[in-house]
């Protein structure tokens, strides 16, 4: 899978300079040199970002290795990493200069510039809207709606569907707020946890950029994990309705129908 997506990213114009697969160092795949370790890859190629496709048992270790090699950005696609492993990795990354995106995410795309992960770049187009989402294919749906309305994207970030993730909504929103090319943001949330409520507080007090949102799982039954490890309503917490209320109170326009994400943005911020 790593190989398949490396090729797609290269075709899209991303500067893919190396691969890492312990024990396979010295090989060349898709014209790219393969190394035994991240440190070696960074030393030989000058890479400053990486994407991780390592299966769950080794994924947290791969994240730590990438951070230890000094990479500025690490994107982890892997779904199924034990929560305790991620908790430990996240604690270990505190104070480091490495930004982690994911895990259990499709990665990110800056249209016409760079694709790290598995997003279908063909549905994106360059423009002024930042997209940040806990989902994978629902992100594609939202991006597709925007593109069909002629509204392009500055950067699309999938932050992932797990409980413990490297980059939160708030961190992504802060980056969009200080990005001169981003004039509006679409936030895609879902049931489980309190990330959207925390984002709402940030939006209300620290953002001028208009935000539009959709929250998936409006009628999900409590106590059931809806696919994503982080998508579960427990102890009365994490319901969609509470997230929608918190966001609306912060001035966010929340689409009730997933088919109207693009339209909601177009209405909220005309002339994009």
């Amino acid at each position: 899978m790593g190989q398949f997506h490396a090729r797609l990213s290269i075709e899209y114009g991303t500067d893919v300079v190396g691969g890492v697969a312990p024990g396979k160092g010295g090989a060349t795949i898709e014209g790219i040199p393969v190394f035994d370790s991240v440190r070696e890859a960074v030393r030989e190629t000058g890479a400053n970002a990486s994407v991780i496709f390592v299966p769950p048992p080794g994924a947290a270790d791969a994240i730590l290795e990438a951070a230890d090699a000094g990479l500025a950005l690490v994107v982890c696609i892997t779904e199924g990493i034990p929560a305790l492993d991620m908790l430990r990795a996240k604690c270990a990354l505190r104070g480091s200069s490495t930004r982690l995106v994911g895990p259990n995410c499709p990665g990110l795309v800056t249209p016409d510039q760079c694709r790290i992960g598995i997003m279908p770049a063909g549905i994106t187009r360059p423009g002024p809207v930042g997209v940040v989402s806990r989902s994978g294919t629902l992100t594609y749906e939202a991006v597709d709606q925007l593109s069909r309305l002629g509204i392009g994207q500055s950067t699309c970030i999938g932050i992932g569907g797990d409980s413990v993730i490297g980059t939160t909504f708030v961190e992504a929103l802060a980056l969009f707020e200080s990005d001169p090319e981003t004039r509006a943001v679409v936030l895609i949330g879902e049931i489980g946890g309190s990330a959207e409520e925390t984002a709402a507080a940030f939006i209300r007090t620290q953002m001028k950029t208009p935000v539009v949102a959709f929250i998936a799982g409006q009628n999900a039954p409590p106590g059931k994990r809806m696919g994503h490890a982080g998508a579960i309503i427990s102890g009365g917490q994490g319901r969609a309705i509470d997230k929608i209320e918190a966001l609306e109170e912060a001035g966010v326009a929340v689409a009730r129908s997933p088919a109207e994400i693009g339209e909601t943005l177009a209405r909220r911020v005309p002339g994009l």
């Binding site: 996240k90 604690c91 989902s135 294919t137 309190s194 990330a195 998936a216 809806m226 994503h228």
Partner: protein
């Protein structure tokens, strides 16, 4: 993954966490024998189901003799226990746990849970034991103590003292043993929740777990074979179980429109779309990044088992997943299983046009849709039409 109280207590014992003496029984005669062995003046006969609210539902009874324990067990075994947590259909009780009664001086609440917001491990304690912690959080939040532990440092003695003082305990050693053992269990077994409610302080100053609820991280079961073995298939929806075994995520719901979608967020959004159009979904099903025919067939087979089914909606947004491959899988599945209800298919993304052509050329009765809105509207209309 959930486990029964008796299994949780066996695990607690392994980690030096005090629990009352107890034995499992699956017949009234076994319960009588268990009561004798437990050797206590008073025993408690407790229904073993994966749900709370057992007491109010008549699933927990006190017995003052082995003969009485037998009578209690005969009432509880085989009953359909209904509580707020079981849902209206309830759960059939197949096992009881016969436990020694305890002399209760005080009841506390103690739990260890992964704190998503703080990204640490949280120890939650309260002097208000034996009640729903959500109620305490709502009505008397000052009575809840929360201590967050860095998983890379572990539980520190000063943190145990913090909890002890919060509970009004002046003797720290008992709590160090109890909480230290519970924390080790939480970490070593990849637990996602360890809840002791009530945590009892006995008349003789011992701390004992009167009830224990343990949940485990599904993502870690691959490295916890002993925990994985504790699974009770009778407590699970067989469709969810079968789906999990082939990497599909399935949740049965109450409605009549079956769904298959690639991606959990999009799957949830598809359920939202159906509801927005006035329909009721029969299930959640995330087929993930899969493209193989067997999985598509299995997904259809699971959906078609639903007796209430009036229509099926397939929503695929292909990125890596190619719509033509999904279309071929669907045609094979529909032909192989026989389609008894209208099928609405919305394909978007990679090779969507090719996929649509494969479906229309198949000769099968499939209603296409291009947008998410069309998909929802047509699925709801199909279900209504089927009912007419």
């Amino acid at each position: 993954m959930n486990v029964h109280e008796y299994q949780a207590k066996a695990l607690l014992r392994q980690f030096g966490v005090a629990v009352p003496a107890g034995r499992l029984a699956t017949t009234p005669a076994e319960a009588e024998e268990a009561a004798r062995r437990v050797n206590s003046d008073v025993v408690v006969v407790k229904a073993q189901v994966h749900a709370g609210g057992r007491g109010k539902a008549g699933g927990i009874k006190l017995a003052k003799s082995a003969a009485e324990a037998k009578r209690c067990a005969s009432e509880i075994l085989g009953m359909t226990l209904r509580s707020a947590q079981t849902g209206p259909e309830g759960k059939v009780v197949r096992k009881v746990y016969v436990e020694a009664g305890s002399e209760i001086a005080k009841e506390f609440y103690l739990a260890i849970v992964l704190d998503r917001a703080e990204e640490k491990i949280a120890i939650i304690a309260s002097t208000e034991g034996g009640v729903e912690i959500e109620e305490v959080a709502a009505n008397a939040p000052e009575k809840i103590i929360t201590v967050t532990v860095d998983p890379n440092l572990g539980l520190q003695p000063y943190q145990v003292r913090q909890v002890a003082l919060g509970l009004g305990l002046t003797e720290f050693r008992e709590l160090q043993t109890f909480l230290g053992g519970l924390y080790r269990l939480f970490i070593e077994k990849d637990s996602s929740l360890a809840e002791i409610n009530p945590l009892v302080l006995t008349e003789t100053g011992e701390l004992i777990a009167l009830d224990a609820k343990l949940n485990f991280d599904d993502n870690a079961l691959y490295r916890q074979p002993e925990i994985a073995e504790l699974r009770d298939p009778e407590e699970e929806d067989p469709r969810e179980r079968e789906a999990q075994e082939i990497d599909l995520a399935y949740v049965g719901l109450e409605g009549d429109i079956g769904c298959m979608v690639n991606g959990a967020g999009l799957a949830m959004a598809t359920l939202d779309m159906i509801q927005y159009c006035g329909g009721r979904p029969a299930n959640f099903l995330d087929a993930g990044g899969t493209t193989d025919k067997e999985k598509v067939e299995k997904a259809f087979e699971l959906i078609l088992r639903d007796p209430n089914l009036k229509a099926i909606l397939v929503n695929i947004f292909g990125g890596i997943v190619r719509c033509d491959v999904i279309a071929e899988g669907m045609v094979a599945a529909a032909r192989g299983l026989g389609l008894s209800v209208p099928l609405v298919v919305r394909l978007q993304g990679t090779n969507a046009e090719l996929g649509r052509r494969i479906l229309s050329d198949s000769g099968l009765d499939i209603t296409p849709a291009e947008t998410l809105r069309e998909a929802g509207e047509r699925a709801v209309a199909a279900a209504r039409g089927a009912g007419a």
